[in-house]
Every structure is written in C-alpha cells, then in structure tokens.
Point group: C2
Chain length 152, copies 2
C-alpha cells in the first residue's frame, strides 16, 4: 500500500545516515557532538514515536549521562532542521526520525481512536501549495482531528 508512495524512503543505513548528518550539520556551522550523536542513535535503535522522557530514559540505560536540558534542546534543534518530526499525540509531544516511513492519522477528538490514512490524499494539496505559494509543504506525518464514524 503506502510503501509505493511519494514520501517513503528506503530503510535507513545507520552509518551512511550518521555521516551525512554530520556533513549536513557542519555545512550550517553546527556541530555533531557526542550528545547529539547518542540522541540520534536512540532514534535509529528504537523506531517510532518517542517522548523526551523516552529518549532520556533510554540514554540512561546506555549509561550515557546526558542532561535533560540537553535532550530537550537537541530535540528542538533537530526538529527545526527537519531531521526529526514532532507531533502531539494523546496530549503528549512525540518525536521521530523524519525519514521514517510516511504515515498519517485521523484522530477522533471524542474517543481518541486513531485511524491510519493513506498518503495519496495529500498529493494534490502539496502540488497546489507549491504552484501557488512556492511553499514546500512537508506533509509526511499529518494528524487530522475530527469525529470518527462511531462518535458522529
């Protein structure tokens, strides 16, 4: 299904990814510090949505003593660069690698049910935004709120 679509990426090769990331950061005058590397490692290891807490706990298990403030600052830093993607799910702020497989959700505001949503729904919208506004919409993880069929 959605695996043939526009937004998807091949599986991540950790070494390649890390070295490209390093170059990317350096080209902006930023640094790829050990702390930042370890935080990215967590995402490469544990795919999916992670809260700042998840990241912090996982680092502790690896006995990587990184301050909470650094974790928060790094997550924001990577989000701004588009390396991580952030969203609000069930009232929690969660992060994931932007390269992770594209997926969208319909979330019912009444019962919190989550329905998966196929990629193609946004193709036209993305084209319009580019044509009319020269805006490069990054719609790889859309969450749409509303009422599901049971709660209508």
């Amino acid at each position: 299904m959605s695996n043939e679509h526009r937004h998807n990426h091949p599986p991540i090769e950790p070494e390649v990814f890390l070295s490209e990331l390093k170059t990317e950061l350096h080209s902006h005058g930023y640094r790829f510090t050990p702390q930042r590397k370890q935080i990215i490692d967590v995402f490469l290891d544990r795919h999916g949505h992670l809260t700042p807490r998840d990241v912090y706990d996982h680092l502790e298990q690896l006995s990587a003593a990184i301050d909470q403030a650094t974790v928060y600052r790094s997550l924001e830093f990577f989000s701004r660069l588009g390396i991580l993607h952030t969203s609000q799910i069930a009232g929690q702020t969660v992060f994931e690698l932007s390269q992770a497989v594209t997926h969208h959700h319909l979330v019912c505001r009444k019962c919190d049910e989550v329905l998966p949503l196929d990629d193609h729904h946004f193709d036209q919208l993305v084209e319009h935004l580019w044509a009319e506004h020269k805006f490069k919409a990054e719609l790889s993880h859309v969450t749409i709120s509303g009422l599901c069929s049971k709660c209508t």
Copy 2:
C-alpha cells in the same frame, strides 16, 4: 476572500452562544460552572490565540480568582468537546474559539514565517475523508509546516 467560504461563521452573539453552550454541556451531563463561564468569557472578549497563561492573567485582572489547575483542566475539557481549538504556534500551546473565523497557516520551519492560506485547498480532502472513512474532519485551523520560498 475567505469570508465567503464553507467554514466561516457569523459573528458570535455572546448571550446566544453562552446559553447554547450551557445546554450543550448539560446534554452531556456536564456542568456550566461559574469558572467555566468566566474562561469562555475571556475568549469572547479577547479574540485570537491565547496561551493558558494569557487566560489566567486575564482572569486575574477581572479579579476572578480561578486556580491554574482549573484553567488547564477547563481548556482541555473544552478542546475535547470541540468548543475550543488548540494548536502549537512557535512552540507554544494556544487556544481559540472554534467558531472564530476559519484560517490556515503555512509555517516555515526555518525562519518561522507565517503565510495565510485560503480555505478552498481543503474542500476536496474533507470530502474524500468523509466518503472513504466516514470521518468528519475538522479542518478549520490547519497549520502546515515546511519551507517557504526564501528558505528552499
């Protein structure tokens, strides 16, 4: 422009709105307490995006001594009912009346520029979601992240 579109509403009549809200809450077994009324009053008075702090401060000015916990709980309560709409803007959680005039934004993740976006872009998407999933998407305040023309 967007004033002729689907999602827009006539200006809010405070008395009508409040009495309808009261009925709405009662029909669900909830209560329209003085605290909840005062919080809604703030939104009727000061239109636009408000942080929990804004609401709390405004209430203090009116010497309405409402506990912060109550403010947070009420904002979440009204959001879940669809009375208020919540979104993340520039890293802050903000609330506004769902009935407020529809508007959408394109936000550049690099320079934080905000571009207004017309309503009609979502018509087709909303129809599709209803046709295919019987999901009533509530797309009155969409924020799309990406790169603006200058930052591409």
